[in-house]
Amino acid sequence: MTARCPGMTLDRVPMLSWSALVAAVSVILTVPVALGSVIYVAVDHHFGRLAFGGNKGIDTWLGWSLGHPQSFVYALMSFGILADIAPVAARRRQLLRGGMLVAIGLVSTVVLGTVSQTPQVFEWKGSASDKVSSAIPFALFNLLPLLGAVVVIALVLFTLVNGKPRLLAPFVPAFLGVGMIVTGMVGNAIEHVSSAGVAGTVFGEGVSSYIGYGAVLSAFAGIVFWAPKLWGSTPPAPAVLGVSVLAFIGIVLSSLPYYVAGFADQPAGVVGNFDYSGPSQLWNGASMVGHAIVALVTLLAFAGHFRGRTAATEDPYDAHTLEWMTASPAPAENFAETPRVSSSTPLLDKKVPAESRS
């Protein structure tokens, strides 16, 4: 907020920075509420266990802070990573950039629901008034963030369709990662519809896997994309694509079986002796294989194997934004003189003559 260069108004900041700001505000609004619950539960746990149920109360009162939809907040920067990479892959300016800023902000509306620490469940029963009073909070706290995520993807596709798209390696994990997160957000909405009957089943674990692993894949995309500025080399595209596809397979394998098993009423939180006639070993086995693949891919990616050995130029992706106007890796203080910017894409402004700008 306080370290922007001259001319860098909030509507001109890169999407990653915008999403980081939105995520930071969301964390400031929600994590202290969780801290308040921690204080109550810790005091109660230490002195008598009279109000919050001892050990069992920990999940009851704090589970929301690490579950969904609160996990949307932790995954919020994934949307900024995708929104920053997509115009570079499309080789054109982001269309409806203001809409993209609003869409990322919309995802953060989830905090209004999570701080209430109450699942906003939609129940189709009772009078019309009952249905409406159930539908409104459900829509506000589950569908509105999902709408923001869908708009982000729609604007990315819109920009790609109207540009001259190319296969940019970091775009693949960024798009797949956000795709996984949105699949998790859809699952979260389904989980909060009572007639779907998946509450309390392993369906929720599938939602958590989709969102958590999707965020990790997006983080990988961000590290790969900005690798030239971090350590001065561009990771090899085939390796990035291979890791991304393998991670995608692992995420789907780890999460989708739980969606299926959830509809077959496999209960959550137990490992055996539950009343379930479906092929539980198949779903649980497939999920375990998926988790193993994700673990393997994560180890490969973060072991530094794909850092690449060829030195990167200052602008290896033919990018648009300010960070690509300095050397790779970025030197201390980034620029010899603090630059003045007059648009969100100062580098593209230099490359494209004013008369041919779209």
Binding site: T30, A34, G48, L50, A51, P339
Partner: protein, 204 residues
């Protein structure tokens, strides 16, 4: 070190004052507000879940505050009034610092610090007068959790006041951004204390 000449942007003006401490104090104030309001929301939840009982005046009330516990209203109301006065003193420090008046800014911060000590002492007096144990029941546990958290925040406010006071007496009175952030912090403490005072000590 820098970009090639054809990609260089014009140099901007020298960086203006960034108000980092003021923004940080604002962020802490928002986080602290959410912390206390979240705890008060859980207080409401437990109070509303308590069973009904007949009060001394014959009305039906929630059996939340145990009948043998009396809130010392004089002490708690004094705490609230002291909070308001503390904010006035903190704002006086800002007024003086902006005019480079080190003596009055320092005096205001000394008084703010003393009031901070008085607030902590007052909260301790409330505990002494109530004489309840944390193990006595759910109400007592939650009472100590929520008021103890507020007490911790008051201690941080006192530490902020002392730090600001030492800075001013060390000659940094022109750097009034810290004094402004200090006042903002005390406004935050006062508003959260107001909410806690009303819920815990007035509504009970």
């Amino acid at each position: 070190m820098s970009a090639t000449t054809d990609r260089q942007l014009p140099a901007g003006a020298p960086p203006a004052a960034r108000n980092t401490i003021l923004v940080a104090a604002g962020a802490v104030a928002v986080a602290g507000t959410m912390l206390m309001y979240g705890m008060l929301a859980m207080w409401f939840k437990f109070r509303d879940a308590a069973p009904l009982r007949v009060a001394k005046n014959g009305k039906m009330i929630r059996d939340w505050l145990p009948a043998d516990i009396a809130i010392p209203e004089v002490a708690t109301n004094t705490l609230m009034i002291t909070m308001v006065v503390t904010c006035v003193m903190a704002q006086w420090a800002v007024y003086s610092a902006k005019r480079n008046d080190a003596s009055h800014a320092g005096l205001a911060l000394v008084v703010t610090s003393m009031l901070g000590v008085a607030l902590i002492n007052g909260q301790a007096a409330v505990y002494m007068q109530m004489g309840i144990g944390i193990l006595d029941g759910p109400y007592q546990t939650m009472f100590y959790a929520v008021t103890g958290t507020m007490l911790f925040l008051l201690v941080t406010g006192l530490a902020f006041s002392l730090t600001t006071m030492f800075r001013v007496y060390a000659g940094r009175v022109r750097d009034y951004q810290v004094v402004s952030a200090h006042a903002l912090y005390w406004y935050f403490l006062a508003t959260t204390f107001l909410a806690m005072w009303f819920v815990v000590y007035v509504q009970k």
